[in-house]
Amino acid sequence: MMAYEITMADLQPIVMGAVSEVLSTMFMQQPRFLRSTEADQVPASITKNRSISGLIALIQTMTLEGTVSVGFTSETTFNLLGQFYGESITRLDDPKILGGIGELTNMIHGIIKQKLNEKGFQFEMTLPIVVVGTNHQCFNCVAGKSCSFEFEIDSGFLSVEVFLHRAEKYRLEKQSAGVNQ
């Protein structure tokens, strides 16, 4: 049976597992979970203190769709990737930073997608985009559920937001079946 709903309780272990696997494998840093936040107003944004974000859509042909975004402060980004590359990088628009954050987002998204697909979804792989801007916010402009998870790592802080929106096709299916929303 296809699963139609994902709760905060479903998402938390998935996101924590994804962040932990990527950070510990790539950077030998074990993230420490700080807090989670949920919002459902429109436009919703519970991201904060971000200077760089990687965003990838969660797309499939039915039920839910959404976005995974992974955000870092400037200091965290320079610490984390500067140490990895073994050089001092001071610009967020440096190609090594943009590619690195895009790829980190890709890996975290890949694990979240896999775990959700094990629950019956059919999310596909899509391409990341990276947004740069001091203390920017990412707004979700349609109704849905926004779940944010904040972590502390040795290099600083990062947050992951999963936004989920009930797809139009699913609403039409329920209406034609006479099911109340």
Partner: protein, 140 residues
């Protein structure tokens, strides 16, 4: 079967410096020394062809899936259709975990695949498996 790590030659074909750096440092940590890099599929194919012409083809080519100019799958297909390059050993490097896409990669002729994120130990297990000195099923 045994192999001389110092004689093995690798090509890393990936558009992302993060992954090239991770692969190169993981190879060096495992004692491999001869490592070359390509930033896109087209230049990767050119390097594979040039190396094969020299009579000493790469031992293993690590190939990204999604790349500009020419995708990893396109490079592999081009090699498979060229008699001089058809025996090139490829390991696909990808963040894709869906079985259907992995099956597609394997059916295109890659010897094995490695899912990001990975570390030096995981990479070495893959190399040993591809070289025939580790049993199947020991890596993730």
């Amino acid at each position: 079967m045994s192999f001389n790590k110092e004689e093995m030659e690798f090509l890393i074909c990936d558009d992302l410096p993060l992954i090239r750096q991770l692969l190169a440092s993981s190879l060096r940590a495992n004692g491999y020394k001869k490592i070359e890099e390509a930033e896109d599929g087209k230049s990767g194919l050119e390097k594979i062809a040039k190396k094969a012409e020299s009579g000493k083809p790469y031992t293993i080519v690590f190939m990204d899936w999604m790349m500009p100019v020419m995708t990893g799958l396109d490079v592999i297909k081009a090699c498979r259709s060229d008699p001089k390059l058809k025996d090139t050993l490829f390991i696909m490097v990808t963040a894709e975990r869906d079985q259907k896409n992995i099956v597609q990669a394997l059916s295109s002729g890659v010897k094995d695949y490695i899912i990001k994120p990975f570390n030096a130990a995981i990479l070495n297990q893959k190399i040993e498996r591809v070289m025939g000195i580790a049993p199947k099923g020991v890596t993730k």
